[in-house]
Each structure stands twice: as structure tokens, then as C-alpha cells.
């Protein structure tokens, strides 16, 4: 784009962010402060992820942007357009084809490969913030690996509700050292982070933090021996493609309690339908 550098950020800023990324990869799960810039999109709308993506993007990369698992949600469209305009890179909706995937709130269903990078948008990088609002304090806790507060919270959940009540942004231990926020992905997605072949990068623009999980790193969702981690999903099959192993969105179809459950990962669903899989509501759609 005229008047702007490739992928919007100037090279000095990209270098500063890449230095932060290298440190983050070297210390998996550790939050690295960085000089987050003001972006032309609002804080809280993916500025951290955008800055990370802008710093790693090359002219040959193929970019996919998803929000809630879908390529066509408004904010995903907006961010994809931003990079198409400022970097001129090729964009795609196909998970398999992308080299860089920027995401908000989901991990694609298709297993990522070693030659792919997934960039998460992170609203709140501090996993302990609900328990201790002071970042001076939480930094100290991370330094000492003092995570008793979180274990007590999980224990209290079990004592009160009989189960852990966290359903998204479910805290994980990275490489058995740092407690980390996986960003607000559903707990259903947590197991995908463990030993993932792809590099996982996390950008929190407003909070000015970067963190990372290198490929093939242990990522463990916190739990107890007698209360093992249980990912949650709707007990249904996708109405369109019939998938039973993908995360489902619930769509309200009428005002009489009608519901349609569909894959949140739109590429996954479209690929399956192209392969001939049809869900219970798929026939209806075809007939209409």
C-alpha cells in the first residue's frame, strides 16, 4: 500500500517484535513485554495478533484468518483485508493451504503441520488476573512458579459445583513450568495445543505481551488425578456435515426452541461436505 511499509509496520518495529518472539520461543509460556504499537484497528480487536503476523509475514506466505473458527465473520474479514491491502499476500480459507493462520477463539480441527504457524489473538495474557489483579504480583508468582492460587480456585470449583467450571480460556501448564492462558479458545481445543507440530505464537496488543509455544512442547490442561480434564462440546453431530468430533456452534433457527448445531470451523465443514458427508439438516438445506 502506498505510503506504508510491507505489512504496515516499519522494519524497526518488526525487528523489535521478532526479538520478543525469539525470547518467547526460548522460554515457552513466559509472557514477554513488548513495545506494542497503536494499530489502525482498535485494541481488543486483534492488534496483538496482527502485530505478530505482520512481523513474521513474508511475501510468499499464504494467510488464513479466522474468528470463532470461521473465515467469514466480520472481524476475520476485516483483518484478512488489512493484510491483503498492506502486504499483498495471498489469502486462503483452507487450513491445509495456509502457512500462517491468525485466529481468535479457535484452533482449526485439521491437525496443523510443522511448516505452519498459528498466531492467536489474546485479550488477556495473564492467566491469574481473575485471582490477582496486580501484574506486579502475578509476575512475582510466575517467577516463583507459585500457582497455588489457581489450584485452590479449581479445588473450590469442585467443592462447590462438583466439577471445574471453566469452559474456555482454560489454564494450561507449558513445558511443566509456566502457567499460561491459551486465549479464550474453548477447553475443547486445549488438547490440540499439546505436542503440536506447528509453532504457536500469542500476541496481546493492549496488554503489550507476547508469548509462544515451540513445536512439540508439552501443554497440559490443569486438573486433578480424581478430576481429570474434560473438554466440553455439545452432544450432537454437525447438522450440515454430520461430524461428531468437531466443535459445534448452536444456531437458533426459530422462536420455538429450534436449534441447529453446526461446525464452528467453517473450512472443516465445507471440506467434509465436499467429500460427500451430509448431516441431518444438510438434506433440508439442499432441498430448499
Amino acid at each position: 500500500m502506498k505510503g506504508y511499509n510491507f505489512a504496515y509496520l516499519d522494519e524497526q518495529t518488526k525487528r523489535m517484535i521478532r526479538r520478543g518472539l525469539l525470547k518467547a520461543v526460548a522460554i515457552p509460556g513466559h509472557q514477554v513485554p513488548f513495545g506494542s504499537r497503536e494499530m489502525p484497528l482498535p485494541y481488543g480487536w486483534g492488534t496483538g495478533g496482527i502485530q505478530v503476523t505482520a512481523s513474521i509475514l513474508g511475501a510468499d506466505d499464504v494467510l488464513k484468518v479466522i474468528d470463532q473458527g470461521a473465515d467469514d465473520t466480520t472481524n476475520a474479514v476485516s483483518i484478512r483485508r488489512f493484510f491483503a491491502k498492506t502486504a499483498g499476500v495471498r489469502t486462503t480459507t483452507e487450513t491445509a493451504e495456509a502457512t500462517v493462520i491468525q485466529t481468535r477463539h479457535r484452533i482449526p480441527e485439521r491437525r496443523l503441520r510443522a511448516d505452519q504457524i498459528i498466531v492467536y489473538q489474546v485479550p488477556q495474557p495473564e492467566p491469574l488476573f481473575r485471582l490477582e489483579p496486580s501484574r506486579v504480583e502475578t509476575r512475582r508468582m510466575h517467577g516463583l512458579a507459585d500457582y497455588g492460587l489457581m489450584h485452590v480456585k479449581l479445588y473450590e470449583d469442585i467443592a462447590r459445583f462438583g466439577q471445574i467450571s471453566i469452559s474456555y480460556d482454560y489454564p494450561v501448564m507449558v513445558n511443566e513450568r509456566y502457567l499460561m492462558s491459551p486465549s479464550p479458545i474453548p477447553a475443547f481445543d486445549n488438547p490440540k495445543m499439546d505436542m503440536m507440530p506447528a509453532l504457536q505464537l500469542f500476541g496481546a496488543g493492549r496488554e503489550k505481551r507476547i508469548y509462544a509455544i515451540p513445536p512439540w512442547t508439552r501443554v497440559r490442561s490443569l486438573d486433578f488425578q480424581d478430576h481429570p480434564f474434560r473438554p466440553i462440546n455439545a452432544p450432537h453431530a454437525c447438522g450440515l456435515c454430520g461430524a461428531t468430533d468437531s466443535y459445534l456452534d448452536e444456531v437458533v433457527t426459530d422462536d420455538r426452541g429450534g436449534r441447529l448445531f453446526v461446525c464452528s470451523d467453517t473450512d472443516h465443514c465445507a471440506t467434509r461436505r465436499a467429500e460427500g458427508h451430509v448431516g441431518a439438516d444438510g438434506f433440508k438445506e439442499a432441498a430448499e
Binding site: G35, G44, T74, V77, R135
Partner: protein, 373 residues
């Protein structure tokens, strides 16, 4: 089929923006407002967007106000997003507010003082009665009343003598703490993330960029007992100062232009400690343009945040440095508050399933209990 509704869509975005554009322009039968008109006639709005956008450029600020339909936080955001792309040539040497070409200068602690009290173009002492004559499009007004009388000696362009700052007068006796010395390069929050403990340079920068409303509320809270600082408005001054840079290859300072700033020095009670005799302490406010409310609020909050340094109890929100600095930036705040309108249905779906599961669990327990009976 309802599934279609799930699809966002590029067309929807384009249409929304086209509509916005049309709405911004308003009724095409009315003349469009010019950036120059905004710059000249909505000066306080331009100043506020400049201050919170932390970019001193009245024309661009007026453009931002126009583009944002007068939404000043949106205007500040536009300026910030532009500012961040600008190359950094140099850091200026500290501006000398003592050499300000003063348009307004009032002190609440001395009845009269060298240089006098200068009211300047203030809303103070106006009666807030709607002036219905402004409803009419009036021709160019006559020149303002000459202000050459009594102690209002200042007029733009007049040969001026530097007006000493009130704290400097008070400082001679040692009754007021000295200005904090600058040790080394100041922090720049636009380049480096905020770190704690945050020194006063970082705090003042954050406050100068901070939201006027937020600082006003916090400053007000200190007056109502939440971290009282017993303030007096030692001096408020507004006017033009020169900005100078000192390029390394030259070895001397060169004047690169003038900016209008508002400065507020609060003078606050301090009972003293074992090592320091009782004396007055300072709270400091400095804002781009004519922004007196903001400068005063900033000075109150600056002083409140010095509680720990001065050995006072830290109990109130305004004294909590982390709380104030993490929440004073309205660009960060508005982004995060408004991001709640982005889709969250994946998270909400997991919460739905979670609540359903939690509700089912006690039900299953009581069913089992009934069956056993």
C-alpha cells in the same frame, strides 16, 4: 435457511461503511463544515483530541474530529494510529514553561504576584446561559475587547516579559519541594511497555495521554476523601512555548516551532517526616492546547500517586499507580470495552454446555437418590 445468518460478509461491511460516510456528511443541502472551521471554532475539541491522541497538529486533529463526527475518543484514536507510523527524528529539550508567552495565568494562593493574574479566554465567571444569538449564522465578529487595562497586560503578539512560575517564587524559601531532577532519558510509553514500579516520568506521560473524564473522576475522588492531598492551585498557565531540539551534529539547540500548552502546578500539604521538614509538595499537570480541566485533574492524580514515595498510606484508587496507569488510556479502554460486540459465540457455546452440564449433575444425583428410596 438460518445458517446463512451465521455468515458475516464483506458486502455487509462495505455497505455499513458507505452508510457511515453518508451519515457523516449529513443533509447534503447544508454546507459541509471545513477542517479550518473546526480548527478555529471548535478549538477545545481539537485540543482534547490532540492531547489524548498525543500528536500536536491542530489541522490533523481538526480533520480527525471531522472524520469522527465529533466523537473525540474516536478522533484521538485516528491521531494515535497515524502518529505511530511517523518516524522519530529527535527528542526535544525540555520546554521552558517559565518563558511561556502567557495567555492565561492564575494563581489561587497569592492575591497578586509579579506578572499579575491574567484571566485570558476563559469560561470562568461566564453565566451558563444559552446564547441564542449564536443560532444565527453571524458575520465575522468585531475584534475582542482590548485587554490592555489593569493587571491584564497580556495580549497576543505583545512584547512580553517572562512570567516567573509561582512554584519558583514559593521555592525560594524552601517551603516547596524542589522540582524532581531528570536523571537520564525519560521513558517513552509509545515505544516501550509500561513497567512497574513506574517512575514519575512514565506516570506523567501516561497521565498527559490519559482520558480527561477518567482523570477528572479520579482527581475528584481525592477531594472527597479517597486519598486526600490537600491541594491548592498554585498556578495554572496557558500559552505558547518554543520547542527546541539539539541535533548532535550541531551541538546547540534550534527552535523548531511553537506549541500551546496548559500547565498546572498544585501545591499540596505535607507534614514532613523524620528526614524531611514539613513543606509543600507538588502535583504536576501538563497538557497540549488549552485543556485546563485535564491539567488540573492530572496534577491532582500525579500528587495522589506519589503517596508511597512520600510515606503516606496507599488506600485509595487514585493512589494505586498500577490501577491508574492501566486504566487511564481511553484508546485501550474503548477498544477492549467495545470488543465485547465482536462475536463470542464459541465461548458462549462452551458456557452454555457447561451450565447445562452443571444443571444436569445435581438433577442426576437427586434422580438416583429417589430411585434408591
Amino acid at each position: 435457511m438460518a445458517y446463512v445468518a451465521v455468515k458475516g460478509g464483506e458486502r455487509a461491511i462495505d455497505n455499513a461503511h458507505a452508510w457511515l460516510h453518508e451519515e457523516r456528511r449529513g443533509d447534503p443541502d447544508t454546507p459541509a463544515i471545513s477542517v479550518r472551521q473546526i480548527e478555529n471554532q471548535l478549538g477545545r475539541a481539537v485540543d482534547r483530541a490532540m492531547g489524548e491522541g498525543s500528536l500536536y497538529d491542530r489541522e490533523l486533529s481538526a480533520l480527525a474530529v471531522k472524520q469522527a463526527q465529533g466523537d473525540l475518543i474516536e478522533a484521538a484514536f485516528l491521531l494515535r494510529a497515524y502518529r505511530t507510523t511517523l518516524p522519530r527524528f529527535a527528542y526535544s529539550v525540555p520546554i521552558e514553561t517559565g518563558a511561556m508567552r502567557v495567555e492565561r495565568r492564575v494563581s489561587a494562593i497569592f492575591k497578586d504576584l509579579p506578572g499579575g493574574q491574567v484571566l485570558g479566554p476563559t469560561y470562568d465567571y461566564t453565566h451558563r446561559l444559552l446564547d441564542f444569538s449564536l443560532l444565527e449564522d453571524t458575520p465575522a465578529p468585531p475584534r475582542a475587547v482590548p485587554r490592555g487595562d489593569e493587571h491584564h497586560a497580556m495580549r497576543r503578539g505583545d512584547e512580553h516579559h517572562a512570567m516567573r512560575r509561582v512554584p519558583d517564587i514559593l521555592g525560594q524559601e524552601g517551603l516547596l519541594e524542589a522540582d524532581g531532577g531528570a536523571d537520564g532519558e525519560p521513558v517513552d510509553l509509545t515505544r516501550e511497555p509500561l513497567r512497574f514500579p513506574a517512575d514519575r516520568d512514565a506516570r506523567l506521560q501516561a497521565l498527559a495521554r490519559g482520558d480527561e473524564g477518567f482523570l477528572l473522576g479520579l482527581g475528584y475522588s481525592t477531594q472527597r476523601g479517597y486519598g486526600g492531598t490537600h491541594p491548592f492551585a498554585g498556578e495554572i498557565r496557558m500559552g505558547e512555548v518554543s520547542v527546541e531540539i539539539e541535533p548532535a551534529e550541531l551541538g546547540f539547540a534550534i527552535d523548531i516551532g511553537d506549541i500551546v500548552v496548559t500547565e498546572c502546578q498544585m501545591v499540596n500539604q505535607f507534614k514532613g517526616s523524620k528526614t524531611v521538614p514539613p513543606q509543600f509538595t507538588r502535583g504536576y499537570g501538563l497538557v497540549f492546547g488549552f485543556a485546563e480541566r485535564k491539567a488540573m485533574s492530572m496534577a491532582l492524580v500525579d500528587r495522589a500517586m506519589r503517596a508511597q514515595e512520600l510515606g503516606e498510606d496507599v488506600t485509595a484508587p487514585a493512589q494505586n499507580v498500577e490501577f491508574v496507569l492501566y486504566h487511564s488510556d481511553n484508546i485501550e479502554a474503548t477498544g477492549f470495552v467495545e470488543h465485547l460486540k465482536l462475536p463470542h459465540y464459541v465461548d458462549f457455546q462452551s458456557e452454555l454446555q457447561n451450565v447445562r452440564r452443571m444443571r444436569a449433575a445435581p438433577q442426576a444425583d437427586s434422580d438416583m437418590a429417589e430411585a434408591a428410596e
